[in-house]
Subunit: 107 residues, 2 copies
Amino acid sequence: MTARTGGTSMTDDNTVFIGSKPASVYVQAVAAQFESGSTAVVIKARGKAISKAVDVAEIVRRRQVRDAEVADISIGTEEVVAEDGRTLRVSSMAIVLSLRTAQDDTT
Amino acid sequence: MTARTGGTSMTDDNTVFIGSKPASVYVQAVAAQFESGSTAVVIKARGKAISKAVDVAEIVRRRQVRDAEVADISIGTEEVVAEDGRTLRVSSMAIVLSLRTAQDDTT
């Protein structure tokens, strides 16, 4: 497992964490995962980065990896401990993009 | 159909559009829809308001309407014509919250 650093574009297995960089950075990271042979990539985000996660998924699907489709979307709430020790709740989201199989192409 | 004004909290049938007001305003709008007898409410957002839509869904589900669960989440891209006539693409999201039936409660 790769260490995760706040705000950077780290990939962990087939997962791309959305941070504070421009959406294009994460679009390339997701496309690279597919190019390296992954058949599914998970795009994860928390808080305000959730909007960017949707942008990334849509750009990948529409422009970069035409065979990719949204396989699943889930939302939740995660607890984060702030520097002052307080526990904050933040919304989270995971979007699974997966390659269509030949059979799915007719739909 | 009710006219939709940018940035305000208009409800159209069982749909709540997320705009620029605080999340609590939309939480109350969704809860009011359920209180008025709706068994499902759709939370819609575009662009940066998408993160707030997830916050609203999570707050409603966790604190306001304990019987509500996420029934469906969809994302897409909408085209918006700007004032200068250019067509802009913006990400969109719809979250469907629905009341659990008694049978579902065991899951």
